[in-house]
Symmetry: D3
Subunit: 309 residues, 6 copies
């Protein structure tokens, strides 16, 4: 039982489907004209039952479908069980909630609580991916990424003398716009609003809207601007989609922590793609997530005894 | 009676003040150490009474101050009388309100009315400059710029088949964030919020906030996103401060109309700066507003009778 | 009876032809080795008679050729009847000639008349496309684009105080180089001179050459330079192919009007490509004509009665 | 007793000296022609005794010299006592040496020991600044920066699953080239070799040279390349001076940790420059160390009791 | 008997092999599933014996394999006989050695002799290609390129008054890192060290290492830095992979001579690719080696008698 | 007797004149208010008689004017005697004419002769500078630069197999537009046409115009396009002012030869500016002509006997 995505070559000589489930992705063998009845009516995002076998073709595994795909009703399955996932996210919440309890600024704690003490928000935040097909593109990826950014930002903030409460606020708020920017039911996709407004501004609007619901303002206008700045500036530069560049120490800390989590995660995922390397230490592919760099996977033990990690 | 701005050279050998009033700017002769009592206590944005005479020094006029500057209380004067101004703005309102009455989409008209039928909004919009020191940097500059963009966008929209109502909505909304981004009491300056969030996002937040005040949503969420997109995308490219690039025909029309008004206004202002040209047809200065281009002022009549344009 | 263009995959497993006529483009089903006799001798730009049927393959229409293509002699057909076209161009000429009659500068009118009162020039200008495969890529596209630019430039010029006669001169002259830069017999292609010199400089050379034919110079050297500058600077920036950037108000006006016509036309064409959207409001394709942006086609009526525009 | 640096304006109307000592920098009042005997023979980097008084001139403190500067012999003073300093560096060494003892790879520990167990190396490394006039530009700045990078890299490495030993190796080796690239006797300056080769490559050459001194290679050629790559790639991109971009997870971790330490340090130093702000929350100056961004120093306590951090 | 490289399309419908030998490259006809036994076990870089015939398919020659490829043992053949080659390289050595004998600086001559009087170095240098698949990508390409750069640099150096000995030193040293950066046994490939460190820095390290072998330093440290600078700066700009930009006249001369040889060689190779032109004077392909420019091959004789060159 | 150029500081506290003659440039001591009668009526480009003395002020020579400047009538002096010059240019003409006589293509020789056999053209070409204030900015600089480019291009062309006649044609034609783009009477300046059209296109127009004067076309249209392409493409890239990039081997050769002459000339001039170095081997100034690089002037003799270069 698998999720399906269709591809076709220009000219349509054949079609290859990408099936995916929680454990990974697999391409089908090509479907030629005669095979088309097998895939009739299947569209991107549909959940299907597949009968076939996995074979190796010139060094790559592919799934040869031997019977027509059977389309399953959306309501019949929990599609997120079929998507890649980071697993249990409780540990990430524990880290984030623990640090949140250390906040010593009352108005700041209250603002964060408007979102982070809200069960519906937590339910969605705990499942949202951190990207569509880049770093942490998995159910639960966003909260995992947030916990990583928190750990890194905490260290950078301590080293540079930043305010730890504001740093944590930035960590918790910077990506909330992804809840409205992405869809993760069936496939990972941008919502229309995600395309039109982007997750950076969507996050600022979400915070603004949530604050407006309170009869009494939970913080001053100046404080609100500082929080909005943290969200807006977290991409660091205009050409990366931030409408303003960081002007506070905490925004600077957040920017580098976010980058560090995202880019090392992409590198680490690249190094796990065995097919990209073949027999070589240097990848034969250039990874778009790494700005088209290659990766090198060293194998030396530097003389260490093999027990270790 | 003039507005004053201080300058000093690194090392502080002397100080030059820039005085300004509604009719232009004038630099002072240098103040050396012995002259300092004349300028004691005067700061940028202060309103002062000046006694002195205007002389020419190597081809530039300068104001030689002959008595100590007299600081005037802020409440005693209408500082905007001392700032450059575009003059009476009624004509611009007439154009904009006239076209607004042509709107045939009820929900769109209602959203625009939330701002443009509000007297306080109109009072502020009618005085706000369109930039701090670039194009239309004058009291009333914003509404003049808006009327220009409207005229241009109307033509581009007609030619390209865009929806005229949405184009006008974009024209009227794209720069509303400048009301919170700039200050124009005494000198033209960025507000703190203008620095931290930028006028592009401030405009989106203003619209969001205003919509939230209505008990019943004046438009659908999808319609709101289309309006927010018009605001957010009007700079056209990420590196120019838009967090998203135009995705609708109306956003594309708005972007080019805005650019056309701003850039031709800068060129036209450059050509009026007689001092930049001296005796030449080509300016000796490269204008930063024109990305450091020079300007050329032709003088030929192409054989036309002199009876004026 | 159709125009044909060949494509082949690296490795040559099959070939797909793109057929085109005045109403659009259509891809063939793939030709495999056994089908090659069907396409023997057919080259890009040839006019052929096709027998076959149109079928749908995974959501795309394709033409299945059922008999060998029949090559038609070039002289036997008016190839431009087979190319996309903007239709009757009289209305564009009326706009341009009407505005040209308003010119009040005798020498300027005379220079423009050297080209625009010449029947051969008009015949070619009225059929030339405005680009090979971008905006207004159709027979008559250039004169349509010119009329659009004229309308937009007229408005921008009025708003910014530019000289209307010079603005119109720029509009009429800026793209004349395309007459020598493109070929539109059979397919739209660059001429060798178009590749080697570019339409910007070809236009300047054309004007220079035409002026040189007159026994008595129709304008002064300074005036000629102003016209040449309008042509050369119309792309606005060096990296876009203009060897000089605009230095006059009229050149600035022209640049933005040209951009506005070209880019909104591309956006508008993108929005009409139904296949790029499928069921979505956001295009699944990124359009190269829009610098790889996606497009969004809104569907809301904002509460307006359906009577249409 | 102070260090002196001379400045002069084009045209030479006057001269301003910048005096510095361990506690900061101070500009002199201008020296005009008549004052020149006071500064006779003083050159950049000289140590001088100054007699004068500090006064305020238009909001900036300046030092009015009232007697001729007295040049002191270089040998008579410990010039580094006159330079800005990070203070006692033992704590940084403790961190670095402590983590170094945790290394579990014998050959890696041995390579690092070749430098970090060498007393002469430690003496120089412990005094070298981390930049000439950017971040950590102080005696001891390099070892402080190294300890910061170590802390940050340790966290990023843990989060991303990098090899902790290789990450630490990168931290300890990445900036060793600064020992040959900078001079810190009197003033902070680039050495000629620093200009010609840059600290990135100088570091690689230093490691290569040190390894060559060992009779038996302390590591394999492949391992050496991995270490050299860490040094060479630490600026992350070609345009920032790295001849290769990071290809290993550890090089990626190092790059972001280095950036985070350097950039947040620059931001933090900018926020401490009271003169750049005057009465404002937003700096009036754009800091070159921050790519010409302004900085914002918030003052809100968010309702927290004043007992301080 | 040929070298083989495998390609496959995404989805794996078929496979095309590129065979190469000293006289060029040739693609195979596609291998479909049924043909797979023909290519069993063949990998990139293998030497194989091929039986088949060459046919034309839509204007391109392709090799139809009619019997299983026969893998040959690596030791059985001199693979470099199968690779493209520049032919006999003695003439290049004569030029370089001749000019080297003119050097009048003893220590410089000695340094160069450490490499260029070493037989093993000469053997490798004389076979190494100058690039993997760009300019001079052939056995012996590096020494040919070096002789070209020498001739060009000699002329530029004479015209600009550079030191001829240092210019020659730069020419001889700038690309020595390619010996460790490339592999040319079977196919042209980067070594792992080539990926990790790049040929620019590998060259600097090679020189450093060679100098370290001498008991007595053959030149002063300042002289060594000048030589290392020549190597490091030869790409001219940071974004092209030089960690420092040229600061000496000789480094500037070298940079332009290197560029001139590489880029005109690429253009000249592009013009020889008949398939890229078809019937046209302008190539239908944009060459990546020329930054995606097209090429034009003129055919005029300008009235010259045909005897010609 | 000297040429004069005025400078003034913002605020006008004083004025510094730059005097120049054929042997160099010298700045005046500052003129303060009281000194203004000395410089009354003197403007940029005027020829004046100066009485004064040269003194050293903080390491820079300056000219103290002790009597009012005396303005000389333009007709009374050969201003080019007062401008920097490359000296006698016969040797450059001999090189160029000698190589021109080797041309074996009759129509090409005839086209070049239209300009290069014209005495008026030669007179102007032989005096024109090669830039306003960059490389070869001296009377005769253009023909000197042309001879340098010829020598370099000849070598590059030989190495790369380019057509030597076309290469020489490109060398001789590429900069002819500078004759109309610059003025060199009194000071080096751009003409208005130079600003509006640029020397690249002015050169193309000059050639076009000259060819049009011939009753019978001296070459075919295709040949003319090849020559125009050589002129237009010689800056190599759009962002450097070429409206098209090189598409022929000869245009590529020309581009690199032109760059090599210009850039090494700038480097060589930078190294001769003793004031930029002071006591250092590395310049304290970054030269704008070298894209803000510093320069290094080595002093080692590498053990060579001192007997001159």
């Amino acid at each position: 039982m698998l999720e399906a995505e269709q591809r076709s070559f220009d000219g349509g000589a054949y079609t290859v489907l990408t099936f995916g489930n929680a454990s990974g992705r697999l391409l089908s063998a090509p479907f030629f004209d005669k095979d088309l009845p097998f895939v009739e009516g299947v569209r991107r995002g549909h959940v299907v039952q597949v009968i076939g076998d996995v074979a190796e073709y010139r060094g790559r595994r592919q799934l040869r479908v031997t019977a027509p795909l059977r389309l399953l009703p959306a309501a019949a399955v929990d599609v997120t069980l079929l998507l890649p996932t980071v697993g249990e996210v409780t540990r990430y919440w524990e880290v984030l909630d623990g640090w949140r309890r250390e906040i010593r600024k009352p108005r700041l704690a209250r603002v964060l609580g408007l979102l982070y003490d809200d069960d519906d928000f937590r339910a969605r935040y705990g499942r949202c991916p951190a990207s569509i097909n880049g770093h942490h593109a998995a159910i639960g990826g966003l909260v995992k990424h947030t916990a990583e950014v928190a750990a890194i930002a905490r260290t950078i903030g301590r080293v540079s003398g930043a305010d730890p409460d504001l740093v944590l606020a930035g960590v918790l708020l910077h990506d909330i716009g992804k809840l409205e920017s992405y869809r993760w039911d069936g496939v990972f996709e941008y919502s229309d609003g995600g395309h039109l407004l982007g997750h950076v501004v969507l996050g600022a609007l979400m915070l603004e809207r949530r604050l407006a619901l309170e009869a009494e303002a939970p913080c001053t206008p100046e404080e609100r601007d500082v929080l909005l700045h943290l969200i807006l500036a977290h991409h660091g530069r205009l050409e990366f989609g931030s409408p303003v560049a960081p002007m506070t120490l905490e925004a600077e800390v957040l920017h580098w922590a976010d980058n560090a989590s995202a880019k090392t995660s992409s590198m680490s995922e690249a190094l796990r793609e065995a097919e990209a390397f073949g027999d070589s230490l240097v990848s034969q592919r250039k990874f778009w997530q790494l700005d088209y760099r290659r990766a090198y996977r060293g194998v030396s033990d530097w003389g260490a005894p093999p027990a270790g990690e």
